[in-house]
Amino acid sequence: MKTPEVLLGLKVFVVEDEAIIAMMLEDMLTDLGCSVIGPCTGMKQAQEMLAGSETPNVAILDVNVGGEQVYPVASVLAERGVPLVFATGYGSVGLAEQWRSRVTVQKPYTQDDIARALDAALAG
């Protein structure tokens, strides 16, 4: 799949607590022409980085971050109007009720899955 034009140069905020998966996601986003904010591997780091950085264009959030749920970070991003993609091993059923309508990408995912999910989040 050719990189959609719309993704080029996007600033993507990434929360993923598993280092090895975060490395891959970073590679995928770089390949898609995006720049990565993060990856944040913990909630504390994510909240600090969010407070100290310019508003991202879109965010990819792992739901379960070191035993905590990512929703506090999701809420801040949603308030700032940032489109969200949730990455989870459960699919959308693994999401809390209020976030079910959001775009999800199920682990393991490919680069194309990520591109499509970002596209859908930006369009939605």
């Binding site: 607590d17 598993e18 280092a19 090895i20 998966i21 975060a22 490395m23 891959m24 590679d27 990856p39 944040c40 591997t41 913990g42 504390k44 780091q45 379960n64 070191g66 035993g67 989870t88 091993g89 459960y90 693994g94 199920q106 682990k107 393991p108 995912y109």
Partner: protein, 490 residues
């Protein structure tokens, strides 16, 4: 006005009367009673009635049951027809007199208001019964008194039989393992509640009171609507694993699950007069199912995460490798390193793994004596164990390709210790290559370097210092350490 002498009245009554105390001992008997039983008062006084007139059979049981009913209920009890043989004293010729009685037992309260005595009026109806036996002969005439007696007799038998059956059912229901209750009327008044439902509801007194009064906690839930519905429509209502909260006196609110069935009880005219309630506490099963679902979800989550990890390793290994052969070898080695860490953890049921064991496992392939490991036993939480296992693998393979383990004489020295500060414990680990060839810094940042930074700094919140010094690679690692590995979700 002249006063009545009640003692004299008692003496003069033509019908046999006697009084028993609560232990069924004779307290008084009038001359009519003494005559009919052929006893003197000094023989009866203070004696237990059943020792005086033993009757080990069914009729003795009936009489005893009647006394007990009076003592327990404080209500009069009638035995319309009771065959009861009494021993004839020797002075009267001895033997047994087969007699038929009609008895009324009336409670007499003591000073505290409770039943202290039983007054018995027992009429000897043996002659009437004998007349009835004669009437059974062909062409016999049935005197009026006999047919009256016969009716009394039949009624008594039916009543006794029905009472016995009802008692048997009541006992079965009372002890049944499932919850059973009978509610009566539009306000669902308990007329029966067995032990199971009583204990489920926290031991509250149910019988006699309306559900709204005795169980306000239950009345506030949907169960009340369903009972109303059954009472109104005459159609049963049931449910499976329905959540219910119960305010148990003394132990407070508990959240439970029940299977239940509410069935209407119909009156003779077809109207609903009550509701038959059955229930089963399903809390244990529901919780077991829930635990299993959580475990399955967790398993699914871990499998997906592991697949994503393997996917990531594959993708990055392929990207970094110069040839397919090298890619295949390093991919396999990385998957094996991941697997080793999992093996160590699964041996402890994912409680943790020992640092020395993790390092030994990754350095063993390079032969004995190639590594000096120094440090106290340190048990690593699952996340740290996997991360350090993977990092040790990357450091060791790098040493084998370019550093101290690429020659016959080089060695690895790994030292660690736990340092305690106010902010908590820190694990400090120093990795040093000794005696290898001159090291040149790598031309680009590979998987290993990224992994060290991302997993130890990012994931574990530690610090790392990886240096490609000419006399050997060194890596200083510092990660927060927790004694009690907290519950982790991968």
């Amino acid at each position: 006005m002249a006063e009545i002498n009640f003692k004299l009245l008692f003496e003069q009554l033509p019908s046999p009367y006697m009084v028993l105390d609560a232990d069924l001992r004779f307290v008084a008997a009038n001359p009519a009673y003494l005559a009919v039983t052929m006893r003197r008062w000094d023989e009866l006084e203070g004696q237990n009635v059943f020792e005086m007139f033993p009757e080990p059979g069914e009729n003795g049981r009936l009489l005893a049951a009647s006394f007990q009913r009076v003592l327990q209920s404080g209500q009069a009890d009638t035995l319309a027809y009771l065959p009861y043989a009494i021993a004839i004293p020797d002075r009267n010729g001895g033997g047994l007199a087969y007699r038929y009685w009609s008895a009324v037992h009336t409670p007499l309260p003591g000073p505290d208001g409770r039943t202290a005595f039983i007054l018995q009026n027992a009429v000897d109806v043996t002659d009437l019964v004998s007349a009835e036996a004669g009437a059974a002969l062909p062409f016999g005439q049935i005197p009026e008194a006999t047919s009256l007696l016969q009716r009394a007799q039949e009624t008594a038998l039916l009543k006794e039989q029905a009472a016995r059956e009802a008692e048997e059912f009541r006992r079965l229901f009372q002890d049944a393992p499932s919850m059973i209750a009978v509610l009566s009327g539009p306000d669902h008044r308990f007329t029966f509640a067995n032990d199971a439902i009583t204990s489920f509801l926290g031991g509250r007194v149910l019988v006699g009171s309306a559900l709204r009064d005795s169980l306000p906690d239950i009345a506030a839930q949907s169960f009340m609507d369903w009972l109303d519905q059954v009472y109104r429509n005459g159609e049963p209502v049931s449910g499976n694993s329905v959540p219910i909260h119960v305010e148990r006196p003394g132990s407070g609110r508990v959240d439970l699950f029940v299977d239940f069935a509410f069935h209407p009880i119909f009156a003779d005219d077809g109207s609903v007069k009550g509701v038959f309630v059955q229930g089963m506490d399903r809390t244990v099963d529901v919780e077991a199912e829930r635990r299993q679902r959580i475990l399955l979800d967790e398993l699914n989550h871990r499998v997906k995460n592991t697949l994503a990890t393997v996917h990531s390793i594959a993708k990055q290994t392929l990207k970094d490798s110069e040839s397919p052969a090298i890619a295949r070898a390093s991919f396999e080695a990385r998957i094996m390193a991941l697997s080793h860490a999992h093996d160590l953890l699964s041996r402890s049921s994912w409680a943790g793994a020992d640092l020395r064991t993790i390092l030994t496992r990754e350095l063993n392939p390079y032969g004995p004596g190639r590594a000096d490991l120094e440090g106290d036993p340190v048990r690593l939480a699952p996340r740290a164990a996997v991360a350090l296992g993977m990092v040790a693998h990357e450091l060791a393979t790098n040493a084998a390709k370019f550093g101290a383990l690429s020659t016959g004489t080089g060695r690895i020295m790994a030292k660690w210790r736990l340092d305690t500060a106010k902010s908590g414990k820190t694990l400090n680990l120093a990795w040093r290559e000794l005696g290898g060839p001159v090291v040149a810094p790598p031309s680009r940042r590979g998987f290993g370097s990224r992994l060290i930074a991302m997993s130890l700094e990012g994931e574990l919140g530690g610090t790392t210092d990886l240096r490609f010094d000419p006399d050997g690679v060194t890596c200083e690692i510092s990660i927060p350490y927790e004694d009690d590995a907290p519950h982790e979700n991968a």
